[in-house]
Amino acid sequence: MSDEVVLSVRDLEVSFGTKRGRAEVVRGIDYDLRRGETLAIVGESGSGKSVSTLALTKLIPIPPGRVTGTAHLGGELELIAMTEQELSRVRGQRIGFVFQDPMTSLNPVHTIGRQLTEGMRHHLGLSERDARDRAVDLLEKVGIPSPEQRLDDFPHQFSGGMRQRVVIAIGLSCDPEVLVADEATTALDVTTQAQITDLVAELQEELGMAVIWITHDLGVVAGIADRVLVMYAGEVVEAASAEALFARPRHPYTIGLQASLPVLGDVERHDLAAIPGLPPAPTALPQGCGFYPRCSYRDDERCATERPPLTQVAEGHWVRSFYEVPAEEAARAAAANRIVIEPPDARDEGVA
């Protein structure tokens, strides 16, 4: 990872006009993404993770959607004010996307060869021949056996895990600076998920791209993220390095999330520390802190009436909360279910 910032997002807000009034879905988020870095965005479904990245290249319907703020790509291009035509040169070329369900990203009636080469011919101006050669390289890179033969196959001829590899190959085909992986492994088995996260990490090392990894799986975050944004009700409630977020979580929501996870090897089975209640609807947000109705720490009279600002509690560690959970208590609460027995791993002897 270098210090070069490839994507700089400021005051990003997204709302939608709905029958029930304006839905404020993303309520002002900021981050810098560096070359080679993996930024994880975690949070409850509906918290605005997908919309906050889709909005960068207007992949949401506008109207009813409305996007404000700025997003600078490579220090020069500002995306939010761009026209559709300008954006079509960014999308797929400089920012690649991989979504949860490969079937929605792949066209079932076209061969995967055609779908892979389309973007390269359009964006990179490659000849059909060169695009095909590059497609073979890409398929090989993402671990598809006999790539030459498979170019002429259709999506349904691949297994779920293999399809997701094809979608990653498409996402990478124009050498993007940023790859957005939105729940890219959520529908896969853990064995396949491990293959895909390893694959993306290897490609990232090789190509130097930055990755935004959207997931609700804290285990995946722990394995791959450099930095983490925790989103709740359209806001970033905590931002920190992965190490700090797991060792010293500070926001009541982050603490609650970690405490609610069942953990492998828990010798004593306590009830899980579930977070009570449900997240608010984006059309009916609480007046004060978005997490107030579910918070077990709320303790400040401002919690109910004022939106807390994002404040720095340690170098590079930001928290949006009036109430400061004492660091020790936070660490203890979050680790309530932590591993007690080590799992087997490849270095253990064989079973024989």
Binding site: S159, V190, P343
Partner: protein, 331 residues
């Protein structure tokens, strides 16, 4: 030990797909043995397509088994007449990953629960029926007044609570839980798991808990059975399985689960499995896992391994590394 509540022996479910020359047999479940005691939870894990759901459905006879025996509280369920089967069904229920699938979108949720009461002639009479519906909803953490609302008005977690209330309506001793938390957010998963735990200790329910999330299974289950391509390949007490998994497939599965702790997670070396699960239409000869097994040796192609006692007490695995126990493959 007293007789188990549920005993499954050599259960098979084969589906025929295609017709004429293209006719093929899908061996979705192919010789499964399971035992479950009253008030216990048995976990069933494995990659998607390995036959977990079909096993659950076949135990409840919601699909017809091709072969094998299911004994519930001493009665052979396969031999039951339609009438006795209905009576038996009262004692066994199922909840699904998507409770939408089991709730009629056009019916208020209270009516969906009421329907389950009516099928078994329980709590009849307007008053008694309404009271019982309210009680079931409350039992599952919902207010009785939500009975008049429709499924789409609820969040995923609330719908799962309704699915559970409906399953409880027939006062079962046994519930097949098929991926009941897979579609829920982390913070809601814990709510539903706690609810299932509470109901179990209050009502003495036995669960067959099907999931692919091993951390959740390990938290909620007493014993865990690991399936691969239609077979159980290992079974043990939950911590025993975790501490000393004996089948290479179980070890690979365990090593693939990401741990929410960056320090440990980054130190780990995974056992990498290559490729995909083969098709259940034409499973590999001998050991079905041999095409992906990191420890495969020559006997694996020749002998179809049977479950054998390994390591600790009540721990079985079907792997030839522990002795060449199984059936020779005919040439």
């Amino acid at each position: 030990m007293s007789a188990p509540l549920l005993q499954v022996e050599d259960l098979s479910v084969h589906f025929t797909v295609g017709r004429g020359r293209a006719k093929q047999t899908v061996r979705a479940v192919d010789g499964v043995d399971l035992t479950l005691g009253a008030g216990e939870t048995l976990g069933l894990v494995g990659e998607s397509g390995c036959g977990k759901t079909t096993t659950g459905l076949a135990i409840l006879r919601l699909v017809e088994p091709t072969a094998g025996r299911v004994t519930f509280d001493g009665t052979d369920v396969r031999g039951l007449s339609t009438r006795d089967l209905r009576r038996w069904r009262r004692r066994a229920a199922m909840i699904f990953q998507d409770p939408y699938a089991s709730l009629d979108p056009r019916l208020p949720v209270g009516e969906s629960i009421g329907e389950a009461l009516d099928i078994h002639d329980l709590h009849q009479g307007t008053q008694a029926r309404r009271a019982r519906i309210g009680e079931l909803l409350e039992r599952c953490g919902l207010h009785p007044r939500v009975a008049g609302r429709y499924p789409h008005e609820f969040s995923g977690g609330q719908r799962q609570r309704i699915g559970i209330a409906r399953a409880l309506a027939c006062e079962p001793d046994f519930i097949v839980c098929d991926e009941p938390i897979a579609a829920l957010d982390v913070s809601i998963q814990a709510q539903v798991m706690n609810l299932l735990g509470e109901l179990q200790s209050d009502l003495g329910l036995a669960y067959l808990f099907i999931a692919h999330d091993l951390a959740a299974v390990q938290h909620i289950c007493d014993r865990i059975a690991v399936m691969y391509l239609g077979r159980v390949v290992e079974e043990a007490e939950r911590l025993e399985l975790y501490r000393s998994a004996q089948h290479p497939y179980t070890r690979a599965l365990l090593s693939a689960i990401p741990i929410p702790d960056p320090v440990r997670e980054r130190k780990r070396e995974r056992i990498r499995l290559v490729g995909d699960v083969p098709s259940p239409i034409d499973p590999p000869s001998g050991c079905r896992f041999r095409t992906r097994c990191p420890e495969v040796f020559d006997a694996c192609e020749r002998i179809d391994p049977a479950l054998q006692a390994v390591a600790g007490p009540d721990h079985t695995a079907a792997c030839l590394l522990h002795g060449e126990v199984g059936t020779e493959v005919a040439h």
